[in-house]
Amino acid sequence: MADVINVSVNLEAFSQAISAIQALRSSVSRVFDCLKDGMRNKETLEGREKAFIAHFQDNLHSVNRDLNELERLSNLVGKPSENHPLHNSGLLSLDPVQDKTPLYSQLLQAYKWSNKLQYHAGLASGLLNQQSLKRSANQMGVSAKRRPKAQPTTLVLPPQYVDDVINRIDRMFPEMSIHLSRPNGTSAMLLVTLGKVLKVIVVMRSLFIDRTIVKGYNENVYTEDGKVSILESCVFLDVTDHATTALLHYQLPQMPDVVVRSFMTWLRSYIKLFQAPCQRCGKFLQDGLPPTWRDFRTLEAFHDTCRQ
């Protein structure tokens, strides 16, 4: 399996390099043998010393030669890691026990499948948008002559673009502030503070929202060692569940910035979490909880049990 992938490896140079390593090893062990044996028996002391030094120098020269040979060959062999499609996880392909743990081949298949799926989904959404179900004329896909271009994959967006989008959204609402950080790699982590009511941690994957955690204003976001701490109060556990529902509801694969904007607008309706009564039953409390559900379209407050 490994041979098929590492095409750029010069196999001839590779085998020569392996034998060069063996030659280098033997010349190094010769050096140490010579040192161990010490001086040979000759007539005079100088004669012994000279013979010893000459022998030692010969061995060191041969080590030097072999090392240079090895370096030259290693430059010819080429870098196999450049061709690994999955960067570091490609090192999984070096596992010799392929039939018991076929991790690498499964990984490759999974990635190929998801990329193909996204490509097809993009094409399909372009085609479907042309046949608009709404009667009102909008600028999207009215003319039949327009063909959808193959959209660039929105999963790989430059971080600068993500930063710009988030900054623009930050300026949209005065009572909501968004702070962006990238603690682990390229995925952005947003800390959204909504007035003095709550704080939300939003983990993103390029411009798609992956996960949200809602915490109270006075709860600590980080534990002592810098990790995100777990929740404590009932209300915010509920709101976290609803936020997860919301991020699943607002989906538009082609325009992820619109998705983030609508999610933030929905989140902003929580500024009146403790002040708004439920639109259905008119009360504030139900089982000790305020209305934690916000309708996705009208942004009205409902109790969790009142919403259907």
Binding site: K196, G216, Q275, F284, G288
Partner: protein
């Protein structure tokens, strides 16, 4: 952190103890869980006569309070003035300040009782005692998640109505003073101080009355 401290008047024909039991039974029916006990006490000091100026100002009263919710702190407050949150060593400091602040006689008043937790609400029902006699009942409701005082008053009111019925109090003064300010433990102690003062002024056997 939004908090409301109020006094529950004793029902006619019943003793303090029985009213407390009534309340706790109502709470347990609501679904609250018992979570231990609490204690809030208050001592009064007045400024010593020697420190008063020649103009003859009236001495100010200072209250030193403790709350079992914050076991490592001590609160010192004036009637309409600032509230100091200090270490428990403050009590020792007061002994050293005997020249400036003198303890009023028989002034220690305290409330003791049980804590209940219902969802995010923390309810404390306690008997207020001054010396050996029980003078009244205090009820404190704290709503954890909300940090701004004025936001959650309607929520608190609804909750209070569910188990206090007709004895629900009006909005505490601290809520009106500071809109959008973050509520803190000092505000709770101010409310307790006002409650204790009110109970002190009442008769020995409290009649059912409004807050």
């Amino acid at each position: 952190m939004g908090d409301c401290v109020s006094q529950m008047p004793v029902a006619e024909g019943k003793s303090v103890q029985q009213t407390v039991e009534l309340l706790t039974r109502k709470l347990e029916m609501l679904g609250a869980e018992k979570q231990g006990t609490f204690c809030v006490d208050c001592e009064t000091y007045h400024t010593a006569a020697s420190t008063l100026g020649s103009q003859g100002q009236t001495g100010k009263l200072m209250y030193v309070m403790h709350n079992s919710e914050y076991p490592l702190s001590c609160f010192a407050l004036f009637e309409n003035g600032p509230c100091l949150i200090a270490d428990t060593n403050f009590d020792v400091l007061m002994v050293k300040l005997k020249g400036f602040f003198q303890s009023a006689k028989a002034s220690k008043i305290e409330t003791r009782g049980t804590r209940y937790q219902y969802c995010d609400f923390l309810v404390k029902v306690g008997t207020v005692t001054m010396g050996p006699s029980a003078r009244g009942i205090s009820v404190e409701v704290e709503y954890g998640p909300c940090v701004v005082a004025s936001d959650c008053w309607s929520l608190l009111l609804e909750f209070l109505q569910s188990f206090l019925g007709s004895h629900t109090p009006g909005a505490p003064a601290v809520f009106g003073n500071r809109h959008d300010a973050v509520y803190g433990p000092a505000d709770t102690m101010v409310q307790y101080m006002e409650l204790f003062n009110k109970i002190r002024k009442q008769q020995q056997v409290p009649v059912a009355g409004i807050r």
